[in-house]
């Protein structure tokens, strides 16, 4: 069981991702903006953060920067609805671990989460 934080301003994503990941036995936290997310990040010992790049108030990338400054080892997966050629570059630039292109099916989401947790030896 792992502690996963899902950051997205889209309510449907927060609700459904929570259901999917909870079903797998993970403890899921959700946040609709970076501010709430940082609060949870500071309170919980998270194993994985899944965040959208586009967030209200603070961009997802700025959020990652702050998180990485505090905990460089935490795996972060970024989500994007408009994949650009440089998405992969952005992932590397912000030291995120991987990326998800929306829309993503339940199956693929779980697969991705599983493989990342495995790579980072978390929650196993």
């Amino acid at each position: 069981m792992s502690k996963i934080l899902v950051v997205d301003d889209e309510k449907s994503i927060r609700i459904t991702f929570r259901i999917f990941l909870s079903e797998e036995g993970h403890e899921v936290f959700v946040a609709e903006d970076a501010e709430t997310a940082l609060k949870i990040f500071n309170e919980q010992d998270l194993d994985l953060i899944i965040t959208d790049i586009v967030l209200r108030k603070m961009s997802g990338l700025d959020f990652i920067k702050i998180v990485k400054a505090e905990n460089p080892n935490i795996p972060i997966v970024i989500m994007t609805g408009s994949p650009e050629i440089n998405t992969a570059m952005e992932v590397m630039k912000y030291e995120a671990s991987d990326y998800i292109i929306k829309p993503i099916s339940k199956e693929k989401l779980l697969e991705k989460v599983k493989s990342i947790l495995k790579t980072f030896n978390r929650g196993l």
Binding site: E10, I15, T16, I19, G81, K102
Partner: protein, 451 residues
């Protein structure tokens, strides 16, 4: 002043002609009077006198003929030179002159007038009706009214622009026509005279200039569409992901053979379709790629088809696609190749819609994509065939010219095929076409594959 000058010239010419005639008259009289006297004094025998008289007569005829020749030849030469000068200046100015006599239905025109209209004549005469047939149907009435106004003296001068399709040509040329009427002593109109100037090139340049402006504006618009598409993709993909996931939750929480479960599956399937279309649109609207990469033509073709499918369905166009499976990946700029296919499909669509505004069993496009090997080099060919308007030989010669279009300016910029041609050439390929006017058009792009 303008009126006086020609009169002076006329008077001088008359005086000159009168002097020459007078000299000839005096010399002739002197010759008749004195030659006979000289002959009478020199010859006695009547036989000799007859012979000398005949010789005298011959001498007279020869000298008179020589005089007539020397007098007439320069005039004819001058006339001919003037005619040639007129022809040459009309040729340089790409213009022609014409006149219509009152109460006549024939038009008398210069050689270059007939050349401009691609007409053959020996008499330089042609019926007005034949000319009207060449004028654009929307402008025929205007032409007739202008001529009638000039003939009835309602107008003294008129200037109009007409689109005229020269005999046997497929496209209209633009002419500027200036005409005025001529009166007799009683003020009655005797004829209408006019000149016409081919301003097609000027018009084209003007249009091109305007198009350049539009184009740079369009370019900016396209760039902003690219940015917009990315934003839209984000906005659409988010809720789509939500719908997809809710569908999944419903599917997970219902019996697998239940109706609701089936509906939920359909929801997921449909959301996948939407996201695929958004992804293709996003890819299409992206800034041009600078790098070549390996791509499967099968993917490029189907991505393009997914973008046009709805529009084609709406237009009742039957689209069939035959794509070879297992065509190896090819090094290319896939977005640009997609642009070429998109352009060919759009042209076919426009042509079919022009021919069949509604449904027709022949309103179809056949797309084929094959791979083949020739001289140890792999090639990929993509052909788009439609059964629309077809291309005439004349249009065919200019089809790849930039800014050349047969479509309405609001519909086409005349750049699609020239850009496509450029893209295919950049890929070291060939873009060719075969067509039969009124029957079909088939464009084929052949791209060599390095691998």
């Amino acid at each position: 002043m303008h009126e006086k000058k020609p009169r002076n010239i006329n008077f001088n010419a008359k005086l000159k002609a009168f002097r020459i005639t007078l000299i000839y008259f005096v010399l002739g009289c002197v010759w008749i009077i004195f030659s006979d006297k000289i002959v009478d004094n020199l010859f006695v025998h009547s036989k000799d006198i007859i012979t000398v008289s005949i010789l005298k007569g011959l001498f007279y005829v020869v000298t008179t003929s020589a005089m007539v020749y020397t007098l007439i030849y320069p005039s004819f030469m001058k006339l001919k030179q003037n005619e040639e000068r007129l022809h040459r200046s009309q040729k340089i100015a790409n213009s022609g002159s014409w006149e219509i006599n009152a109460d006549s239905d024939m038009l008398l025109a210069s050689d270059h007038f007939f050349h401009l209209l691609n007409l053959n004549t020996k008499t330089n005469l042609i019926s007005i009706e034949s000319i009207i047939d060449l004028i654009h149907e929307h402008e025929r009435e205007l032409f007739l009214k202008t001529i009638s106004d000039l003939m009835t003296d309602k107008k003294k001068k008129a200037e109009m622009q007409y689109r005229i399709k020269p005999q046997g040509k497929d496209e209209f040329f633009c002419f500027n026509c200036i005409a005025e009427n001529e009166h007799d002593k009683n003020g009655k109109v005797t004829k209408v005279l006019g000149v016409m100037l081919d301003i097609t090139q000027i018009r084209r340049l003007e249009e091109e200039r305007n198009l350049m402006k539009d184009q740079s504006w369009n370019q900016q618009k396209l760039e902003s569409i690219g940015t917009l598409a990315s934003g839209i993709a984000h906005e659409i993909n988010n809720p789509i992901n939500g719908i997809m996931n809710y569908g999944q939750i419903i599917q997970d929480s219902t019996e697998s053979d239940s109706e609701i479960n089936r509906y939920a599956k359909d929801i997921i399937y449909e959301t996948n379709r939407v996201s695929e279309i958004v992804a293709n649109l996003l890819e299409f609207s992206r800034q041009p790629e600078k790098q070549v990469s390996f791509a499967r033509f099968e993917d490029i073709v189907f991505k393009t088809l997914s973008l046009v499918n709805t529009v084609f369905k709406h237009d009742n166009i039957i689209l069939s696609a035959v794509v070879d499976e297992n065509i190896p990946e090819c090094k290319c700029k896939s977005q640009q190749i997609q642009q070429v296919i998109m352009n060919l499909l759009t042209n076919s669509r426009d042509s079919l819609n022009e021919k069949y505004p509604g449904y027709h069993e022949n309103k179809k496009i056949e797309l084929e994509c094959h791979g083949f090997v020739k001289n140890n080099i792999g090639y990929i060919s993509v052909s788009v065939k439609d059964f629309g308007m077809g291309i005439s030989e004349e249009v065919g010669h200019r089809i790849f010219d930039p800014f050349f279009t047969t479509k309405d300016r609001s519909k086409g910029t005349g750049l699609g095929l020239s850009i496509s041609y450029g893209i295919v050439k950049e890929h070291h390929g060939e873009l060719t076409f075969e067509s039969q006017k009124g029957e079909f058009t088939k464009f084929t792009m052949i791209i060599p594959c390095e691998n």
